[in-house]
């Protein structure tokens, strides 16, 4: 076995080796934690790596892809350098959240779930960030921006370009 795999050039197997070594006796039951760690290490879930997980753990690829596509947290495509998360919780909704999402869409020119062509931003909506006292709120990477109005969005996003 080489130290990199398949069609997605440049993918190293080292991180995967470490993940699987740190979870001795892994079975299908540990699939969610395995995928969480793979995504943390690779930034997304590269298909070739998932096939490798299947090969080494004996978990059928169909089950791995089934789980990977069921949960919102997992993504098979690379993400942008900055993740913009717009909260769509109830408190945000009644305090102007939809306008905020609209402003992000307009500023970045992409829909939720998409990444800008220059790989700078990925735009996501989340069910609720649990910071309802800041509503309406967005997160850019790990920074919170609360009590927003749609005209503040452009300035906030510019800070990350």
């Amino acid at each position: 076995m080489g130290d990199s795999v398949g069609i997605e050039a440049g993918l190293k197997l080292g991180p995967l080796d470490e993940i699987l070594a740190s979870m001795p006796g892994v079975g299908a039951e540990s699939l969610v934690p395995i995928l969480q760690q793979v995504q943390k290490a690779y930034g997304h879930l590269p298909r070739a790596i998932l096939m490798e997980v299947s090969e080494r753990t004996g978990i059928p690829a169909s089950r791995i892809f089934g789980v990977a596509t069921f949960y919102e947290q997992f993504h098979l495509e690379p993400h942008g350098r900055h993740i913009v998360r717009c909260c769509r919780g109830t408190a945000c909704h009644v305090r102007g959240g939809p306008g905020i999402a609209e402003a992000i869409r307009h500023t970045l020119g992409i829909e939720p779930g998409e990444t800008t062509e220059d790989m700078c931003f990925t735009f996501e909506t989340v069910a609720c960030l649990g910071t309802c006292f800041l509503a309406p709120v967005i997160m850019v990477n790990n920074d919170y921006y609360g009590n927003l109005s749609s005209r503040k969005i452009k300035k906030i996003l510019e800070k990350y370009t």
């Binding site: 089950r63 919102e72 649990g130 006292f133 749609s150 005209r151």
Partner: protein, 617 residues
């Protein structure tokens, strides 16, 4: 390991001695400054704490002033929040620039910094004891939340945590514990309200030696942050409750299934578990009482349906989080096909209180069929957003107006949404009804996990119904047809209503579909998905009809029914023209502007910025 305590706790006496010693150590500090380092981090609490630490050290005050990085203090509306003990001064909106004054005035002279205090009835109210937000609550489960550093188990033990668990393991029989919890009347705080003691009894009686205990911390309801605050601010109360529950049902392994979207909660539970383990409060032979139990943290991966217990178990087993039909209930066949007991975070946090003070004590709080207190996450159009704990039976008026300080900008209360996507909207006529599991159900909502979103006259109830349906539709796992397809059809109709394309008979179809989805869905997600629609239809039918018949949205929310225009009072200041993101506004300076309806995206920014009331919709 705690300095000065380098051996494991091997008896009840050990933990009581340790508690005494920690209590003595605490007395060596004249003042304690508590700062919320969880929710308030979002508004700069870390910078304030860093500045405080630096200044206290440079003034050599760090020996007599304890700086405690605490959990949620409750009144999130004025974040970042800081509390000074023993004076009880509560300050909000604190910045690093305020630190010098806080030290010289409050810590050194013991006086209040009035300008940082909460304004109540037109006057500043610097003391926590005089603030209505706290005075009108009954903070029992939240007693230590915001009053300890959750990352220091010493703080928790000093407040008496874990003592009840060790006492229970050493002195009580499992059945006695179950009886006590049953008699207390505690019901599941996750929302459904099933009697906790009865649930434990089922699991204990299930045959088989291998049993599991799960804490459901997959707090998915939008607008709910009670469990997050508890896990961040006092994870020990949940762990202690789990130890007692595990002993009662006979489980040796437990899980806390927590949302990955709550990184601080995950961090704090992991620290707490590590510390408890190193003190012998988890693991083999807990507290020398001969009982083995340990807990593992598992992170959710972003699926709302995993809050449903059978879906949660599927997820723990590494599968797609899809529910299965019950029976068999998890108490009979759950995780790994073994008897499993699942309770919510807040339910576990109630347990040590019940065992410590007795079922009779607990029984006195609350209403006839709903005992104890309930924590609510108060948010939306309300002044004092935050974390609130009241006895069961408190009225919405007490919570929203007494504790919450009413609606901002003097607007009118329209509805309170309880129970998230499974709940409903409670209109003003029920403001004085006492809130408990049964009374809330009677008026078309559910207690739910505790999200309480206040809505004012600017909220469109049809839009709210559509919002929740959109949520459940996208979170539906797709396993059963009524939920997967039924919610989609309902959503299509609601979309048509909001866009002015609906006919009156569509409302009937909507009601029929709602009944079908309720009756035929596999799990709680689908069975309750129509509730927000039905409750808004029951209480706000006029508003639906205005959308359908007059093609108007009285709250000014549904975009397709709005048309923005500039009135004669326009001064031509040009601000709207500047903010319009699509260049739909034209006009010379100091002349009447106009909006091109073909270009306008109805984003409402011009309406927001106009200071002359010249933009109409």
């Amino acid at each position: 390991m705690i300095p000065m305590f380098d051996k494991k706790i091997e008896s009840l006496n050990d933990i009581e001695q340790l508690r005494k010693r920690l209590h003595g150590e605490r007395q060596s500090y004249k003042t304690r400054v508590l700062i919320c380092m969880t929710g308030c981090r979002a508004l700069g609490a870390q910078d304030v704490a860093a500045q405080l630490r630096k200044k206290l050290k440079s003034l050599s005050l760090d020996e007599e002033v304890a700086l405690v990085e605490a959990g949620c203090i409750g009144i999130c509306a004025i974040a970042p929040v800081l509390l000074i003990e023993p004076h009880g001064y509560l300050y909000g909106g604190v910045t690093p620039e305020d630190v010098d004054e806080i030290i010289s005035t409050s810590i050194q002279q013991g006086k209040a910094v009035e300008r940082l205090a909460l304004i109540q009835n037109g006057k500043s109210a610097p003391c926590i004891d005089e603030i209505d937000f706290y005075k009108k609550q009954n903070r029992s489960v939240l007693e230590n939340c915001g009053r300890i550093d959750p990352r220091r188990i010493e703080d928790a033990i000093e407040r008496g945590e874990y003592v009840t668990a060790i006492k229970t393991l050493s002195e009580k029989e499992p059945q006695q514990v179950i009886d006590e919890v049953t008699q207390s009347g505690l019901r599941g705080r996750g929302g459904a309200g099933f009697p906790t003691g009865v649930k434990w009894g089922f699991c204990r009686k299930s045959p088989g030696g291998e049993k599991y205990l799960i804490c459901n911390a997959d707090e998915g309801d939008p607008g709910a942050f009670m469990d997050r605050a508890l896990l961040e601010g006092d994870p020990h109360s949940v762990i202690e409750g789990m130890i007692i529950a595990a002993y009662a049902i006979g489980a040796s392994r437990g899980f806390i299934y927590v949302r990955a979207e709550y990184p601080i909660a995950v961090e704090h539970i992991n620290i707490a578990l590590r510390q408890a383990r190193s003190l012998g409060l988890l693991g083999k032979n807990i507290g020398g009482a001969g009982f083995d139990f340990d807990i593992e943290v598992r992170m959710g991966a972003g699926a709302f349906v995993c809050g449903e217990e059978t879906a949660l178990i599927a997820s723990l087993e590494g599968k797609r989080g899809m529910p299965t039909s019950r029976p068999p209930f998890p108490a009979v066949r759950g995780y790994r096909e073994k008897p499993t007991n699942i309770n919510n975070v807040e339910t576990f946090a109630n347990v040590p209180l019940i065992i410590r003070n007795g079922a009779d004590w607990y029984n006195q709080i609350g209403t006839e069929k709903s005992k104890g207190t309930k924590i609510f996450a108060l948010a939306g159009k309300v002044n004092n957003t935050g974390l609130v704990e009241v006895p069961m039976g408190a009225t919405l008026r007490e919570i929203i107006f007494g504790i919450g300080g009413g609606i901002p900008k003097g607007r009118r209360f329209k509805a309170a949404q309880m129970g998230g996507p499974s709940g409903g909207c409670i209109p003003a006529k029920y403001l004085d009804n006492g809130i408990d599991y049964d009374s809330v159900q009677e008026i078309g909502a559910i207690m739910g996990s505790g999200g309480l979103i206040v809505m004012d006259e600017d909220t469109c109830m049809v839009d709210v119904a559509r919002y929740f349906l959109q949520f459940v539709q996208s979170e539906s796992c797709g396993k059963c047809t009524p939920c997967r397809v039924g919610t989609k059809k309902m959503l299509d109709i609601l979309g048509a209503i909001c866009e002015g394309r609906a006919k009156p008979e569509d409302i009937e179809t909507l009601e029929q579909l709602a009944a079908d989805v309720q009756q035929a869905s596999l799990c709680g997600l689908g069975q309750t998905a129509p509730s927000p629609v039905l409750s808004t239809l029951a209480n706000f039918k006029d508003e639906y009809m205005q959308h359908v018949v007059e093609k108007k949205c009285p709250a000014g929310v549904c975009k397709s029914l709005l048309r923005y225009a500039i009135l004669e009072v326009c001064t031509g200041c040009g601000v709207c023209k500047k903010v319009c993101p699509v260049g739909a506004i034209s006009g010379e300076t100091k002349e009447l502007h106009r909006i091109d309806p073909d270009v306008c995206t109805k984003c409402g920014q011009c309406f927001e910025v106009c200071r002359f009331g010249a933009v109409a919709r």
